[in-house]
């Protein structure tokens, strides 16, 4: 790397994210990195390894497993954990599993609440984590545009938009009172385009579901879904059709819309992104509530 050339936008984003990760580890008693297996998490993990090299990351990774993620995601997760040697912990809300919570039967909102929001709160309490690092970006959704990098959650994991701490000069205040925790967002300033350009530049491996391939699809509620297992029976009139599709975001498979695409490598994905006129979250069933739903979910403790 030539040090005399000016830093590019990607260089600056990378450096700032590494600074945030180091600051979190330096100032928080028991931080954890929430690893969701998606592209943003892949970038986060890459940054984490860089930030503390040659030491192994001095904090564990936590995956909230809803039991509905694509099988390819789980295989990818376990392999990456093995290859990088990070301390990965998986948490499942067993009570939710026992009740048989199901994204189809119970609906996206209830399923997300039980298997993600409540599961996260349980996991943070179980391990006593005081700071959870996540891959949320401010460009994802309007209410995130005002999120701090170090976001304070009161006891009960609630987010109060009026109590957030100013962060001039990126000076983060990680001090906590009883019961308070932090969410930390190191890639706040990144856009979806930045994420892909960085993945391309650094050669970061992502789940193959991001690349176009022929997959078994069906349409429900105007949403193109890829059937990953037989837990969801096809309704009358629905049928499985093989189509070349890929995903822009990943989550529980019945809640994640595929897009028809031929983009089978990184260059093609970026080219498609530059041309596409749909926002990234348009494919998420969980966000299809009124506009304020994300803010409400955040107040209730969603990431």
């Amino acid at each position: 790397m030539n040090a005399t050339r000016l830093q590019t936008h990607l260089d600056r984003l990378e450096a700032e994210s590494i600074r945030i990760l180091r600051e979190t580890v330096a100032e928080c008693a028991k931080p954890v990195l929430l690893y969701s297996i998606g592209k943003d998490s892949s970038v986060l993990l890459h940054l984490l390894l860089k930030a503390f090299y040659p030491a192994r990351p001095p904090l564990p990774l936590l995956h909230i497993d809803t039991t509905w993620q694509f099988r390819e995601m789980i295989e990818f997760r376990d392999r990456i954990a093995r290859e990088t040697g990070v301390d990965l912990r998986v948490y499942i809300n067993e009570e939710g599993v026992r009740q048989g919570t199901d994204p189809i039967k119970d609906g996206a909102a209830r399923h997300t609440d039980v298997m993600k929001t409540q599961a996260l709160r349980q996991a943070l309490a179980k391990y006593g984590f005081d700071a959870a690092i996540g891959g949320a970006r401010r460009d994802e959704e309007v209410s995130r545009a005002k999120e701090r990098v170090f976001s304070l959650r009161s006891a009960g994991q609630r987010w109060d938009p009026r109590k957030q701490r100013p962060e001039p000069w990126g000076l983060f205040n990680a001090r906590l009172g009883a019961g308070e925790t932090l969410r930390v967002f190191p890639i706040s300033d990144w856009t979806e385009l930045d994420v892909w350009l960085y993945i391309r530049r650094e050669g970061i491996e992502v789940v193959p579901l991001y690349y176009a391939a022929v997959r078994p699809t069906f349409i429900r509620n105007d949403t193109l879904l890829v059937r990953d297992d037989d837990r969801v029976p096809l309704a009358p009139g629905e049928q499985l059709v093989p189509k070349r599709v890929r995903f822009r975001t990943l989550g529980g498979w019945p809640l994640t819309a595929a897009i028809e695409s031929d983009a089978a490598d990184l260059d093609a994905i970026v080219a498609e992104m530059l041309d596409t006129r749909q926002s990234e979250r348009a494919g998420r069933v969980i966000d299809r509530d009124p506009t304020d739903s994300m803010e409400r979910k955040k107040r209730e403790g969603y990431f």
Binding site: E23, A26, S143, E167, E295
Partner: protein, 631 residues
């Protein structure tokens, strides 16, 4: 929802590779946009994003839908809705917090701090302006340069912005009148000059009609400059390449005994293996052995890069230290003149102890003096004894120990700081260091041969400070008196400092405002400390209602020497006793700020001893205190 593929078909692989290479090589412009909704700020920014093709179709469609419910354009598309995210602000029609927006062209990526304009949210401008390379101030052409315009420009200047663009909006409302525009432009340039802003630019725009946003408008043929987007793509960004090397240490990386690295972001200058360095504030010297970036070694690293340095010598370096070029090192001081912007609803009180964070250094701090408050509209200097939310002042600041710093105008990263409240943990203030005060080097501590231990020894006792705190009427003085009598009878040397008595003498110049209460306690703590040095057992009987001040006394006197005695009784009990008739007066409104009635009492969280004067006799309480002292 099939992704559009028409354009892709026309994109050949080599052309695509070239475009991706260009995108990868883009630089960044960070800018802060200031103005109120009345100026059309959110509309301008929303329109700029939409016109430059940055807003996805589903979001545009949602904006159009929302415009019918929340919009301010009579149901027509309201572009400000692309920016205003929180429920509360849509309901109130105001922007209550900094919103961060991201867009870009093939030439540059933009990080936009969309700053709220209303006066009460001045504090939110701080986050946006602090890291901006360009400030944009929106001016309503119809209204002209307002108080608020002056305030925004002043805050940008305070935060070190050297270039400001005045976007003169609503040209449609003045009929695209050239003379009117030039008058406003002239006024803006004068304003910038008066504030010491080096570069001031101006563009006439109409956000509603998209004039001069992306292309030059035919309605302003008299304007020969660039449209806004092109201006943003080409405006020079000042990057100081000649600065001296500094790296605040964030994290000491010690995976095993073979590697000891100092991780941090280069704040200024460049560094390469072999370079001589100095570690501040300790002053130790060494040389750089390796510069590690990511998973490999670098030939060198420059400002902005996150790296890990290893040094040639084994020296003691910790988080908060600053590694620097010994030829041009940062200064080291513990007392400063600074500008301070207060962020919290509870006021700044001089003498109260806060935590200061600057770069990676965190240290105890207090404002020792408010030199003057600055009127944000006129820049006039005003007298002040406290500072409320959104107020700006010029202050003297005193830290518990030396830190490494540079004046803010030279280096934002080593000159900008925040203050944190020790009780609430809130970020309550932020400021910029102007220069170090050399008081440290001028006022030497007199080295004394006879010390506290020597004086205590001939008295055969361990000096201690018993700090009695509690409501008026709780029984502090009664118990303290009994304790002193018992100690005296047992042959100990004591002194009792009573709140009422001290206020008749040493502190007769102080009243009962929060600021005066802080000073009252500070003086008593200093006196108690001198008496401890004299070898005495000091009994202090003061209401001392604020936790922060008792903590200050504890810090000053030192853990071990300080024992907090909480004389606790319910307010109703104290009020019923009302030995001095003060509660009756306070209830009658004759005493303002009376603790427990007009002013709060913050009970100790972990006192050394907790006495319940409504449940046991004063004599029993006193006996317990004496036993604690003997243990």
């Amino acid at each position: 929802m099939k992704a559009t593929s028409d354009a892709r078909v026309n994109t050949t692989r080599p052309a695509l590779a070239a475009r991706l290479a260009a995108l990868e090589a883009r630089d960044t412009l960070r800018f802060a946009m200031c103005g109120s909704v009345d100026d059309g700020k959110s509309t301008l920014l929303g329109r700029l994003l939409a016109e430059s093709g940055m807003v996805p179709e589903d979001r545009l469609a949602q904006m159009v839908r929302d415009s019918k419910v929340h919009g301010t354009q009579n149901g027509r598309p309201d572009y400000s809705l692309l920016l205003d995210g929180l429920e509360a602000e849509r309901e109130q029609g105001i922007t209550i917090d900094v919103a961060w927006r991201y867009f870009g062209t093939d030439k540059r990526a933009f990080i936009v701090a969309d700053c709220p304009g209303h006066a009460q949210y001045t504090r939110n401008m701080a986050s946006g302006a602090s890291t901006a390379e360009l400030g944009i101030v929106l001016v309503d052409a119809h209204a002209g340069v307002l108080t608020q315009t002056r305030r925004h420009a002043a805050i940008l200047a305070l935060f070190g912005l050297r270039r400001v663009l005045f976007a003169v909006n609503k040209l449609d409302l003045i009929g695209y009148d050239e003379a009117r525009y030039h008058a406003i432009e002239h006024e803006c340039r004068e304003l910038a000059r008066g504030l010491g802003i080096e570069h001031a630019d101006a563009i006439p725009v109409s956000a509603i009609n998209a004039d001069n946003l992306v292309v030059r408008s035919p309605r302003t043929p008299w304007y020969g400059g660039k449209p806004l987007l092109e201006y943003l793509e080409t405006v020079p960004v000042e990057r100081r390449l000649d600065a001296a090397f500094t790296l605040p240490v964030q994290w000491v990386n010690r995976p095993d005994h073979s590697f000891r690295g100092y991780a941090g972001t280069v704040a200024g200058g460049r560094v390469a293996p072999g370079d001589e360095i100095v570690v501040l504030p300790s002053g130790q010297r060494s040389r750089v052995a390796r510069v590690v970036g990511g998973d490999h070694d670098l030939d060198a690293a420059a400002a902005g890069q996150a790296v890990t340095l290893t040094l040639a010598d084994q020296i003691d370096v910790a988080r908060g230290d600053v590694i620097a070029d010994p030829a041009r090192p940062p200064q080291v001081a513990a007392q400063f003149a600074c500008h301070l912007l207060w962020l919290d609803d509870a006021p700044l009180l001089p003498g109260r102890r806060y935590l200061l964070k600057l770069a990676t250094q965190v240290i105890g701090a207090q404002v020792t003096e408010i030199k003057h408050r600055i009127d944000p509209d006129t820049q006039a200097h005003l007298a002040a004894t406290r500072l409320g939310a959104n107020e700006i002042a010029y202050c003297n600041l005193s830290l518990d120990a030396d830190i490494a710093f540079r004046p803010y105008r030279e280096d934002r990263r080593l000159g900008g700081f925040i203050l944190i409240d020790r009780e609430t943990n809130a970020t309550v203030g932020c400021g910029t260091l102007d220069f170090g005060l050399r008081r440290d080097t001028n006022v030497h501590w007199q080295e004394l041969d006879v010390d506290r231990a020597a004086r205590a020894k001939i008295k055969g006792q361990t000096p201690r400070c018993l700090w009695f705190t509690g409501l008026s009427g709780a029984g502090k003085s009664t118990i303290a008196n009994l304790v002193e009598r018992r100690l005296l009878a047992a042959g100990f040397h004591t002194i009792l400092l009573d709140g009422d008595n001290v206020r008749h003498g040493l502190n007769r110049d102080l009243g009962f405002t929060d600021a005066d209460r802080v000073e009252n306690i500070r003086r008593v703590a200093e006196v108690a400390k001198l008496m401890l040095d004299a070898g005495l057992i000091v009994l202090v009987s003061f209401i001392s209602p604020f936790r922060a001040e008792r903590d200050m006394a504890r810090d000053l006197i030192g853990e071990g020497g300080f024992m907090e005695v909480f004389v606790d009784a319910p307010l109703e009990v104290c009020e019923a006793r009302d030995v001095k008739g003060l509660y009756a007066k306070a209830r009658a409104g004759k005493i303002a700020n009376f603790t427990g009635i007009g002013s709060p009492y913050e009970a100790p969280e972990a006192p050394e001893i907790h006495l319940h004067s409504d449940q046991e006799s004063a004599a029993d309480s006193a006996a317990r205190v004496v036993r604690l002292l003997a243990s």
